[in-house]
Amino acid sequence: MSVLSDAALQAPPTAKARGYWATVGRRIARDKVSMACAFILALIFAAALLAPWLHLADPYQGSMIRRLRHIGTPNYPLGTDELGRDMLARLIYGGRLSLIVGILPVILAFVIGTSLGLVAGYVGGKLNTAIMRTVDVFYAFPSVLLAIAISGALGAGIVNSIVSLTIVFVPQITRVAESVTTGVRNMDFVEAARASGAGPFTIMRVHMLGNVLGPIFVYATGLISVSMILAAGLSFLGLGTKPPEPEWGLMLNTLRTAIYVNPWVAALPGAMIFAVSICFNLLSDGMRSAMDIRN
């Protein structure tokens, strides 16, 4: 048994090179568009989370005498809705349900789809065929149609919306996860890790996850954009939240009758959906180019 050599012990501790994720983070931080989007999203999230402490009007309390006030009315900076409820309060409170119903399905689908895709891609063979052929079936439906079909069959409700959107997104994330996993799995460094005697779980943890999760995460972030639109769309059709809960899609629906009276107030909830959707889209693009570190 030999002792650690002097050279190995006395080598000056090199400055720890910046890790991959730190580099990616720095690159995103330098991207103005991504940072603007992150800021807007943080603002919307914080407002929704802290709504009860913001001294807003009661989002449920309406009044027949002050219906459909215009934007800029004193005490009602964003006007009132068709039942005389304060729009600002309803938009901020509306963020709570809208964001949950928009984002939760993607998170659930990320967990389920990534697991399925990792297993299919890593194990391969018959299991891969079984999983991917099932996924193909769901790809035979346009996603809007599938979401509405499942929601329509299950009936209206928040939970049913979340379930149906999750079912719509799982195949999409599974497909991305499987293709990324298969790609990484066939890389020589995974072969080399197997050749050094590592078991499948060690290889998965050390060599696969770090290379696979990034691209799937970016894809899922972009998917939130679609999910926000679809989730609000389900409510817009009456398949999601039920009145009087404030939720952007439902608000858009109930305000449809008001477009002849006070059109711009009626359009406000849609602007919120658009803002969140485009921010997630741009953020996803920003992350994708930040993670492409080779150039």
Partner: protein, 357 residues
């Protein structure tokens, strides 16, 4: 191995069981066929990637494997590493059969591999040091010790640990990456290292440096190499013995000098003739091979080379010649022209070994 090549704690190498005379690696009848999807409604076909390959590697020697791309060289390497299940055949490491007297895990320590693509064979998310330390940690070495070993090995492959240990693969050059891959292979104290086109992707000048490094490491660590390459010059430079493969089969095998000076198989002759030679007196008159290698899916019956062989006779299309001794030095070839009394018009009357003597 009495001299301590490295001062840091290394993993204990797999003990030498059989002694000098016991080959480090014996391969018998190694076979791998891949099924290929045929056209709709047609029968499944198979690619005979590796077909009944047998050879052995003695302790301390370097055996080269040459052949055109697609001849089964890399599949052989992956089969030997047990990265791929074989359809038939035996792989014996130092007299021990994997799965019986030697566990797969132990084999992995005794036999390591360096891949062609230096970038793809390093995890882009790990530093150089982490990549090298991964193997020893899998085999139970503590993180601190494994990292110290990694740094020491970096020094051994000619990379200053202070500069390189914390670099990521994309931050270093191709030659440096291949040195890291060599260090990663050595980290498990293997006795056999398979080098699969390990220098093929490098610039010529860098290639020479890495070849010299390999020669130095071989001496220092008492290694045995299986060197796979399509580059005949490199194989000749580094190998003691050479094995020529064609469409998944071994067509010629022997000491490098013997094979180079008197190639017995027309395929070997054609390969050597196609090689740009610096010696004008050493030119062979054999015409270079015409045409592409036949599709490895359903190779031709008989000798697989007969479709491209200028000396092919009806016999060659009918039966498959087996690898036969040409002399007492271990030179073997699978060609009817080299087998006495085979019925080929060019076959020698007696064995060539006796002829030469």
């Amino acid at each position: 191995m009495t001299d301590v090549a490295i001062s840091t704690d290394m993993l204990e190498p797999i003990a030498d069981v059989g002694g000098e005379a016991q080959p480090l690696l014996q391969v018998k009848g190694l076979t791998k066929h891949f099924p290929v999807r045929g056209e709709l409604f047609s029968a499944r076909k198979t690619v005979r990637a590796v077909d009944n390959v047998s050879f052995s590697v003695m302790k301390g020697e370097t055996v080269g494997i040459v052949g055109e791309s697609g001849c089964g060289k890399s599949t052989t390497a992956r089969l030997l590493m047990h990265l791929m299940a074989r359809d038939a055949g035996e792989i014996v490491y130092d007299g021990m059969q994997v799965g019986r007297s030697l566990s797969l895990r132990e084999l992995r320590r005794g036999m390591q591999m360096v891949f062609q693509d230096s970038y793809a064979s390093l995890n882009p998310r790990l530093t150089v040091e982490e990549s090298i330390a991964f193997g020893p940690k899998v085999h139970g070495m503590a993180d601190r010790a494994a990292r110290a070993l990694a740094r020491e090995l970096l020094g051994k492959v000619g990379l200053r640990p202070e500069t390189f240990a914390n670099r990521y693969p994309h931050e270093i050059s191709g030659g440096q990456r291949q040195r890291v891959n060599i260090a990663r292979a050595l980290a498990l104290s293997p006795r056999l290292v398979i080098l699969d086109e390990a220098v093929s992707a490098l610039d010529k000048s860098v290639e020479a440096q890495v070849l010299n490094l390999l020669a130095d490491l071989k001496r220092e660590f008492g290694l045995t190499y299986l060197f796979i390459s399509h580059d005949l010059n490199v194989v000749r430079y580094i190998s003691d013995r050479v094995l020529v493969m064609y469409l998944g089969e071994v067509v010629e095998l022997g000491p490098v000098e013997q094979v180079w000076e008197s190639p017995a198989h027309p395929y070997t002759r054609a390969l050597l003739a196609a090689m740009p030679s610096s010696d004008p007196d050493n030119r062979t008159e054999v015409p270079s091979i015409s045409g592409d290698p036949p599709n490895p899916i359903d190779p031709p019956p008989g000798c697989r080379f007969h479709t491209r062989c200028p000396f092919a006779e009806p016999l060659c299309a009918k039966d498959t010649p087996s690898l036969s001794d040409l002399d007492t030095m271990g030179h073997q070839a699978a060609c009817y022209m080299a087998i006495p009394g085979s019925g080929h018009s060019r076959a020698p009357a007696r064995a060539r070994g006796e002829n030469a003597a």
